[in-house]
Subunit: 203 residues, 2 copies
């Protein structure tokens, strides 16, 4: 999911494939904005095609389905958001990064709405994004857990609270607070995550 | 969940209304089980009607829409779950009750799935269940907050952590952990909520 589709190394004749890949990337880019602004559920593939300035047929040609387009949008999101978060963790540590990510997320409502919508729709194992979202969440839990292990080893966390449990709590809290905030933007997401960090910090 | 729907004990000329109300209650009861087993999104109103053993027309007559039926199901859920939780809180206090509720919820997957699905769908303010779910969540936050204030006054909570923030964290954590568990039932929901209670308890 986090790798681009690779061509089998053809030359000369690559132009058609390269053009296809470029067009596909443009469509993902456009759909990203459309989903971010308007969400996913309320749009038909025809409406999406219209909003991104292409035809229904072209969209289906490139992606096969509305869900597959959404999956491509989520991959794009990861590519953009992932490195930024990872840099911040390296620089500031996990305890400061999570609240900072929540402040950032308050500026990308459409994406957060999209995540919440798709995450619930994809609970069923036969949903096309199920395995991607399951794995993305598990990767998030794992990366938070290894940061927590580092914090614990550095003596910055209260003892007696297993990093595996804390990691799942943090990621679940992010999901739940985002959902609360989607219903009521007066909920301060960063404050709630900061509060959790204060609970687990060694005092 | 473990109580039956109680009739209002009407007799005589009230029969037409009473029959309508009784039929409606039976349909809600049946739909509760259907939604719990099969979820909500994948079913058309015709499929729901078939599963509850009535006609499409009868279902629309009683509820007006699939969404309104779902709302009735959620109201029924609250009527059943609410008193049970409230009794447990009075008896055991909030800190023990929340993990106990999570253990209970692990036995009603369909309902938890239903909640997660509807909650995400109803983020849009024009969804028929939006205001109901917003208010239900706010009521939950408020009741947890007042229990936390009681615990704090009794000297059982760490100081310096505002009950309003803790209450939102607990309810968000419940939502987020339930979502994690819906994807992976090896996630121990009670353990994660117990862990949070251990973080906020005075040691």
């Amino acid at each position: 999911m986090d790798q681009e589709t690779r061509g089998p190394g053809r030359t000369g004749k690559r132009a058609p494939y390269a053009n296809g890949a470029k067009k596909r990337a443009e469509l993902v880019e456009a759909a990203f904005r459309v989903f971010a602004e308007k969400g996913y559920l309320g749009l038909s593939i025809r409406q999406i095609a219209e909003a991104v300035g292409t035809s229904h047929t072209a969209l289906l040609h490139h992606f096969g389905s509305k869900e597959a387009l959404l999956e491509a949008v989520l991959v794009l999101r990861e590519e953009r958001e992932g490195p930024w978060r990872q840099e911040l963790i390296s620089e500031k540590g996990l305890l400061e990064t999570v609240p900072a990510v929540m402040r950032h997320n308050a500026g990308i409502r459409g994406v957060i709405h999209l995540d919440a919508t798709l995450r619930a729709e994809a609970i069923s194992p036969d949903h096309p994004a199920h395995h991607f979202l399951l794995r993305r969440n598990q990767d998030f839990v794992d990366s938070v857990q290894s940061e927590l292990e580092r914090e614990l080893a550095a003596g910055r966390l209260r003892e007696g609270f297993p990093p595996a449990v804390l990691a799942r709590q943090i990621t679940a809290l992010v999901d739940g607070i985002q959902l609360s905030w989607l219903y009521d933007e007066s909920v301060d997401m960063a404050e709630h995550l900061q509060g959790f960090m204060d609970l687990i910090k060694k005092t």
